[in-house]
């Protein structure tokens, strides 16, 4: 394994992802992430000197909509996906102290 993910990286990524990881989970994540990076490293074995950098996997561009309202009030269906709702709004844990 060429790519060693250290404890500090796992700690940092955990904070960014808002995850509270147990010690076992941290160890597992360290291993998983290391092997993912090793896999990506395979790309380094290829000669890409003549390949244009690409920003999208499909050769398409300029996929647009016209500025016309097509959606109606569908709040009932939309709110059916909410973990909880109140007054037609999504109910979530309090975000400020």
């Amino acid at each position: 394994m060429a790519n060693m993910i250290d404890d500090a990286t796992i700690e940092y990524v955990g904070i960014l992802a808002k995850l509270a990881l147990s010690d076992e989970e941290k160890e597992q994540a360290k291993k998983d992430m290391g092997s993912m990076l090793d896999y990506i490293d395979k790309l380094g074995e290829l000669d890409t000197s003549g390949v244009e950098p690409m920003s999208h996997v499909f050769p398409v561009q300029n996929v647009f909509r016209e500025d016309v309202v097509t959606n109606k009030d569908d709040s009932e269906n939309i709110l059916a996906n909410a973990p909880g709702s109140k007054d037609s709004m999504f109910k979530v844990p309090r975000t400020v102290e």
Partner: protein, 476 residues
């Protein structure tokens, strides 16, 4: 001698674009709908939904970029800015980091030292977030996604400003350009234009920038000016005490006139941007760019020049009238209907400004139509009504955009041109005011003013004061 400090300011300005629909879905952007009535799977971040770019957003961004002298990135794309917050349902905001649509522009502002260029680092397109309401009763937060996905452009300036005055001049310039383009109404108070202030201080003459802080929550020119002053002093105090300025985001509390650090260390700012694979890149061909360029409307600077050449009105009037697109539109449309420019300008400069101030409204809130203003000017020119009546009618027009011709007819406000009726009233006034009559005959010229007033009162204001004056002199 105390050290001299220079303030260095750069701005990030978010502008809500005036499209009918959101940036990536066909939901309405209309303001004030009941919660979540303008939402769909795309703007609430449901799994499997796919964004499709609103072409008008690109057109508006191009128009603003061209008007601010930017280089257009003809091949641009969108990136995901990752962060977790309940107002951001996808857990990322679609924005542009690597290839923003516009770069390297500038606007010119007027300063006491002359014209100054403020550089524009870049302009990028992105989506707005939802609105959070904190529920005190249930100790939870509630999310309304009506604003989620509303198109924004973010205009990032270079750190070229040195004072609150320059910041306000820059914002005013941007506001006018964007309003003239019709790309946004740019109302600071209503949040369709928002400014974040990046500020640092350094000793005068020093080349290196100091550590900057970013201030948010500034929703009026006054708050911006106060926040700049407050933050400048805070940083100078730190430096004088030998303490470091910490690079952080601060929230300005205008009531307390102090800024507070917003984020704790637990919320590391690391957005892990990467290209959004759901959106195809945007290629702006030379033809497309030319067509946007050819449709650019006349901007304020050109308009001011043209008014000076075409209309015989004072520079100050031109300044005020072109100060908002809406007022300039009313002015031009009324003149186009045949009214004399000077008369139109007078109604806007005197009565309109007075009523706007009295009612605490902005020029954008003017509701009367150019057609009705032209009719009112016609009525006064033909002496159908006198100036006092005209002002009354105008107030009605200002409030309810009434048709002045019909209003004058219905309320019977026409000036009485009936010589007989007028003569009769004047004779009555002379009869009941012998003292004033005598004063006048004894050479007290001013006494006639009182008699004119009495006549106007008896005529319920519906007489032409000049005719009354003339008639009185004849009869006395």
């Amino acid at each position: 001698m105390a050290k001299q400090y220079e303030t260095v300011i750069g701005l990030e300005v978010h502008v809500e674009l005036a499209t009918k629909t959101k940036i990536f879905c066909g939901c309405s952007t209309e303001f004030g709908g009941a919660p979540n009535t303008h939402t769909c799977p795309v703007c609430t971040g449901m799994p499997g939904s796919l964004p499709v770019l609103n072409k008008q957003v690109v057109e508006y961004a191009l128009a603003v970029g061209l008007a601010t002298n930017c280089t257009i990135t003809q091949y641009c794309k969108f990136d995901r800015k990752n962060y977790f917050y309940p107002d951001n349902p996808q857990n990322y905001q679609i924005s542009q980091l690597y290839l923003p649509i516009c770069r390297d522009g500038y606007v010119e502002i007027d300063t006491p030292e002359g014209t100054k260029k403020v550089g524009i680092h870049e302009i990028h397109m992105e989506e707005d977030a939802g609105k959070l309401i904190h529920d005190e009763w249930e100790d939870c937060s509630l999310v309304d996604f009506n604003r989620s996905g509303v198109p924004l452009i973010e205009i990032v300036s270079e750190p070229d400003m040195r004072s609150a005055d320059e910041v306000i001049a820059y914002l005013d310039k941007l506001r006018l350009i964007i309003q003239y383009l019709g790309a946004s109404d740019c109302k600071l108070q209503e949040g369709s234009m928002r400014a974040d202030v990046n500020l640092s201080v350094r000793e005068a003459g020093c080349e290196k920038f100091g550590t900057r802080t970013e201030m948010k929550n500034l929703n009026s020119f006054r708050a911006i000016a106060r926040a700049i002053e407050g933050e400048r002093n805070r940083q100078i105090e730190l430096l004088e005490a030998g303490k470091p300025v910490i690079q952080e985001t601060r929230r300005w509390d205008d009531g307390k006139e102090y800024s507070y650090a917003m984020r704790s260390k637990e919320d590391a700012q690391d957005y892990r941007y990467f290209p959004d694979p759901d959106l195809a890149p945007v290629y702006i061909s030379d033809e497309w760019l030319e067509s946007v360029r050819s449709r650019q409307p006349e901007l304020r600077t050109e308009k001011m020049k043209r008014y000076k050449e075409e209309y015989d009105i004072p520079d100050y009037d031109i300044e005020i009238i072109t100060g908002t697109k809406h007022m300039a539109d009313i002015f031009e449309a009324t003149v186009a209907l045949g009214s004399q420019p000077k008369k139109v300008s007078n109604w806007l400069m005197v009565e309109t400004l007075r009523l706007l101030k009295e009612k605490e409204l902005d020029p954008e809130d003017i509701r009367f139509s150019p057609g009705n203003l032209a009719k009112l000017i016609g009525l006064t020119e033909q002496r159908v009504i006198n100036s006092t009546v005209a002002k009354e009618v105008f107030e009605e027009m200002f409030d309810r955009d009434i048709d002045p011709e019909r209003y004058v007819e219905e309320k019977g406000l026409k000036t009485v041109n009936d010589e007989g009726a007028l003569k009769k009233t004047v004779e009555e006034v002379i009869a009941v005011n012998p003292q004033s009559v005598e004063d006048y005959r004894n050479g007290k010229e001013k006494a006639i003013g009182f008699l004119v007033g009495q006549t106007m009162k008896a005529m319920k204001g519906k007489a032409d004061p000049a005719s009354v004056n003339k008639l009185l002199k004849e009869l006395l």
